[in-house]
Amino acid sequence: MSSATAVGTPSSLGLPRWAATAGAAVVFAAAYLVFRDTATLPHSREAAAPFLAVTELREWIDDNRNDNPLFLYFLNYIRLFVGGLFDAFHTVLYALGWPGITGVMGALGWLAGGRWIAALAVGGVSAFGLLGLWESSVDTLALVAVAVLLSLAVGIPLGVWAGLSGRVRRALTPVLDVMQIMPTFAYLAPLALFFHIGAPAGAIATMIYAIPPAIRITALAVSGVSPTAVEASASLGATGRQTLFKVYLPLARSTMALAVNQTIMMALSMVVIANLISAPGLGGDIIRGLSRAQVGIMLPAGVAVVIMAVMLDRMTMALARRDAHATTSRLDLAGAGLLAVAGLALIPVLPRVWPENLAVNVVAQVNDAVRWAETNWYPVTTFIKDATTRVLLNPLESLLTSAPWWLVALAVLAAAWRVSGLRPALTALACLLAIALLGLWEHSMMTMSTVAVAVLATLAIGLLLGVAAARSPRFSAVQRPVLDAAQTMPAFVYLLPALALFGTTRFTAIFASVIFAVPPVVRLVEDGIRAVPATVVEAAASAGSTPRQLLWKVQLPMARRAILLAANQGIVMTLAMVVIGGLVGAGALGYDVVLGFSQRTDFGMGFVAGIATVLLGVMLDRITQGADRRSSPRKRKFT
């Protein structure tokens, strides 16, 4: 044990730096061979006390929801308020009917970005009807509207405050950090506990997920306002309020539009998942399709979500990119007005709900196509799936589940200490021990091995594509729009192709998380390499470096920070997706969570599995984040 803990401190005996790491690896391997299959913590569905305690708590809460003062005077009111807001939106949208919504959305699009965006909005709204998903789409739209409105109502003031005050920012940052690394699945069970299930709980879950970017980007926008402009305003005797409204907010406007955009995007990807706690909308169709492994049911709903995402994204981005001085021309105003009036005028004439005979039903065709792909591509997909499972996934999983728990804990401690320093290492260790106490050790280890394999693939592909894009502008120009599109899509959508190609297995989750996490990794790597100052590259080139030397000796080392950040992001995103993969056969923690929602007796296990997921996320984040944040001597700047 003593030899194992010593590896954290760098060797001072004049050995090469890798010697300590290699030595530690040998010690761990030896310990594993000796202690294998002792002190393991196998999973048991009923035994663990925490599960039962939570299940009982839920029973108690369900019985007392209307007596207990905390619920009676506080939580229930929040629920009622959010529910009322949702009903209001819902009623208005239904009253508008499809002609009204089409007209109004088109008009908004026109005002935001001109006639092309208007055409996109009109086309997008019509597509919901064409896909035969009018009602679920409107439900989703209402839910997103409520969640975004609440997120902005809370997030923007908080963000402004954080942007103005460093103290508030420092207090908020760790909270937001945890909120962002928390896998989406983990929110749901506690929310169901406090807010019951249905639209209000779904809106609140969506809001929690969508609020961090609203706060963060607003704070960034406000703190990025030119200090000279602020000082000039103060020097002329402006009050704090005047400076806020006449200087800060107008100057932060376009960046804050980005905050709105990001909030909407996050809300859209969460709103689908919120269906697990019975929030209405498109999520229902997707989850139904997932649980029956029927791509035909999922696909139209998935397409509708993507269309909604693209539509709202382009509308808000147009707003953000608009020239600050441009005023809306009279022609644009007239066009937008005409569209809105036409839509509203047609409300009494046309049916409210999209006529069903105009909808295209593709369920059968899609299912056939998937079946065709399954049979014809079977050799290839099965080979990839089986090879990965046999070579990487199974050995890793059996290693982690058969090793004694204390050995795994020590390995985590050592690795985190080496990469991130002592404090993050202790946090990581605490998370791991908490997982053991919660009784979900084995499932957590299984999820961790799935995550590890997915991260490996994500980083390999991400680095390759990122470097390629950084070196070839042409490749980058082709890749950028693909990445943009990929990042607009809600997380759930990625399960679709994975499911179609690989059926319900662990590998499906890995595939989905790889395509989910690769785009941001590629982007971070590319930006990191591009951010290397041109003068340094020039200097290296003028010294006669080959392109390969330039990459290995200059660009990659200088982009180290960005690459580590990419790794960290990749891990957090992968974990989130692997857990969602519980819906398509990834098993382990994700499946526990899903089971918790469907089986009342397993609610406790699902709830605890959610907590374990968060702990796992924090642990993985701490293991990898330190390399990025470890203070370098240059960072200690004096102010």
Partner: protein
Amino acid sequence: MGDSHSAAITVEGLWKIFGPKAQKVLDSEDRHLDPAALREKTGCTAAVRDVGFEVRPGEVFVVMGLSGSGKSTLVRCLTRLIEPSAGEIRIGDEDIGRASPTRLREIRRHQVSMVFQHFGLLPHRKVIDNVAYGLEIQGTPRAARHERAAEILTLVGLDGHADAYPEQLSGGMQQRVGLARALAVDPQVMLFDEPFSALDPLIRRDMQAEVIRLHREVGKTMVFITHDLSEALKLGERIAIMRAGSIVQLGTAEELVGAPADDYVADFVRDVPRSHVLTLRWLCRPPEPGESLDGPELPVSTVIKDAITASSASARPIRVVDGGELAGVVDRVDLLSFLSGQERPVRAGA
């Protein structure tokens, strides 16, 4: 120099120490440590150290120093954009240090305005609305403030640019907007924080001329911060040279160039063409017995290079007069030996 009530700005014992333990440092003897030692020992930085001066009404007072000498902090302390750690500041009859936030805002709105190095214009507002900003926050109605802003735009030579946005203007024109914004509120005192150092040399010369012209036309008291010695000499009636937070010398251009207080100032002014700055006051000597006193007559404030023409026109020594009385004489030998850099150090008459 005059009693404190006639001064436009009076500063006494002003300190500004940045850092967590500023007050403690101020109360201890540590404050006399040199900057590096102070930072090492306490983690604090003394940006302004025991500075005192007076600015006369209508004067252009220049504070000159290299970057990090504390001059920008000093000018911000004058209206408490940066809160001073200790010391007295009076602007007119107003005790700035004890002014309430409301009173301070009133002073900033009506009495003192500032021009910034990076302009600090609001990019989302048209030029005219930038200029009218000070009036707007005072609550002046739109029509009135636009009328005033238009007048000021004419004054700074920006006619016809009222509806442009700042980013559409060149750097020099943007700073004219900054200047107009400061002028629009009709302050008694204008503070300039290195206003021209972000501009091209040619534009900078234009803008300096502009400030001189405006000073002549509107007659405001001006405090001008710069790191450029030639700018200081050109604009400043009196110049304070700052180093490491303290004023090392305060005087007219002549005094700085003719009698630098220490090696630091001497080093600064070494490349200044002395004949362009020093006046005949520095060169003239009592007439020797028998020397003819019927040569051309020049006032003592004549710059030496301008005396050369008169001297070449007449072989007789120049009579240097100070308000009608003879202050001394200067002949060709004096001038030539001065120009060749051999002149004896001469003290100005008190």
